[in-house]
Symmetry: C2
Subunit: 301 residues, 2 copies
């Protein structure tokens, strides 16, 4: 029994301790040689943030009638992969950020070489964890995280920083669909695959695409309106870097309207995704999907 009003946050709160325990078990101990490397990997992983991607993977297993325990290790792998991408994104040759989740970034707390290699090791470990969900799960992750997915989006994002080209919605969407959307969609897919229920993947992929965009627009808006305390990072960083963002392109108000439209479209897919469920399982599935669509645009950090 929980006092939380949100089914999704309720679900997330229930599963987060098991995700933490799984991550704890996957990562080599800090006392294990090389200590600096394992120390840096753990520094970047703990304490964690929302663990959004693992929670989405477990939710996908839930709403497709899958086995959540079987999805737990692949779900944790998604957080390993996400964390590697943050470490490398923060490096001096990339975004050159010194603050992340309210603390020094990995290359500031350790050094650049250690941060680079800690990211490499987390990426490697992510694939080991996701492999327990089977070959299809590995392929889904590789596609989402590789040069045609997340890494490709990072390159396109760097290229777009003040390159003098006119801002353009299609370009912005293409960057974000790859940079953040692909891994959110893969989280849903991998949860369904690893949970043993891969029938509903087409609808889940479309749900992920809409949800990922709603999350990203909200992120962009929060960067302009949030406080450093809420965000755990410097607000206004995107503006300062002349980054291509939704509010920069269409203004705050239109950005929020677009996020609401995407959120509603995602929620509309809930009955399709849950069509294999019945009884209380169906009720919970529908509420989870509708609620995460709402959470994507109402959260404050």
């Amino acid at each position: 029994m929980s006092s939380q009003a949100s089914p999704f946050e309720d679900f997330a709160g229930k599963w987060r301790p098991r995700i933490e325990a799984e991550l704890e078990g996957i990562l080599p101990l800090a006392e294990c040689a090389p200590r600096s490397l394992h120390g840096a990997m753990r520094y970047a992983m703990f304490p964690g943030g929302k663990r959004l991607r693992p929670v989405l993977a477990l939710m996908a297993a839930q709403v497709t009638g899958g086995d959540l325990s079987a999805a737990l290790r692949p779900a944790a792998g998604l957080e390993l992969l996400h964390t590697y991408s943050l470490i490398h994104d923060d490096l001096p040759c990339m975004d050159d950020d010194e603050l992340r989740r309210g603390r020094a970034t990995c290359h500031i707390a350790f050094d650049e070489a250690t941060a680079l290699l800690a990211g490499d090791a987390l990426l490697t470990l992510a694939f080991e964890a996701v492999a327990s969900g089977g070959g299809q799960a590995v392929s889904a992750l590789a596609r989402a995280a590789g040069s045609l997915g997340m890494v490709g989006g990072q390159v396109a994002d760097l290229e777009a920083e003040g390159d003098g080209q006119d801002p353009d919605l299609a370009r912005l969407e293409s960057i974000h669909d790859r940079k953040t959307g692909a891994l959110i969609t893969a989280s849903l897919e991998i949860g369904a695959i690893a949970g043993g229920s891969s029938d509903e993947r087409g609808d889940l992929v479309e749900f992920g695409r809409l949800l990922g965009r709603a999350f990203q627009i909200t992120d962009d808006c929060l960067d302009e309106t949030g406080s450093a305390e809420e965000l755990g990072k410097r607000p206004g960083a995107d503006l300062a870097k002349d980054k291509l963002t939704y509010p920069a392109l269409m203004g705050l108000e239109s950005s929020r309207e677009e996020a609401e439209r995407l959120s509603r479209a995602a929620a509309d897919l809930a009955p399709l995704i849950c069509r294999g469920l019945e009884g209380s399982g169906l009720d919970l599935g529908l509420r989870l999907l509708q609620d995460v669509a709402s959470y994507a645009i109402t959260r404050t950090r």
Copy 2:
């Protein structure tokens, strides 16, 4: 029919074109967006070097009676992984090298961010390719390449550079067994697994350990005695950086004797590894393993 006297170089020469074709097919086209990223990935991959790790994987399939065609894609994955490690190793925060295989390193030819992300994308693509060999192959690669394997060895190697501690053979072996030996052993394992013949893995792992050390000692010796033209990189680089190497620790002559001892010990394992073969398959298997053990210490680049 080949005129080459070495069964291993004959085998390598026969399979290299298929490895190249496989790599060509796996990598996105250079015209595919983001062009800078795919250009950098291809720049680092082509033209290639010896393709030693894929050749070893295919050889392992051959000497354990496996299906070489089934091992081809995972074998190519090993070269993707090896190439990522070279790109990241060359970065300014690591070895800061400007020359590799006789040309500018990736971050010199492109820029640091592109090189970092090209490495990340190649590592990701490596796992996709190896996944076609099954879950055991993915696990073997992740163990060999991760924080307890190759990446751990890189960190230990960086830490050993002029840290004032007395040089020590056990420490040197521990670094190299992880930094280069683990992936050589994994290449043999993955070839056997992907080829469908995983029975002989214990002997193959020991063979890989001995072979990997023989290769590394020979590398260290060549760094002192080779020419830039032969090596495709600056000779004497290890010495200049006060790196812990075999010749630095025990002298050139003793290093060569140790490499010969390891090579003979590896060759002695050939009958055990090939025990499931018969007829001409057995003959070829024995000759391949004995010859690669000899190749490891007689090559000049």
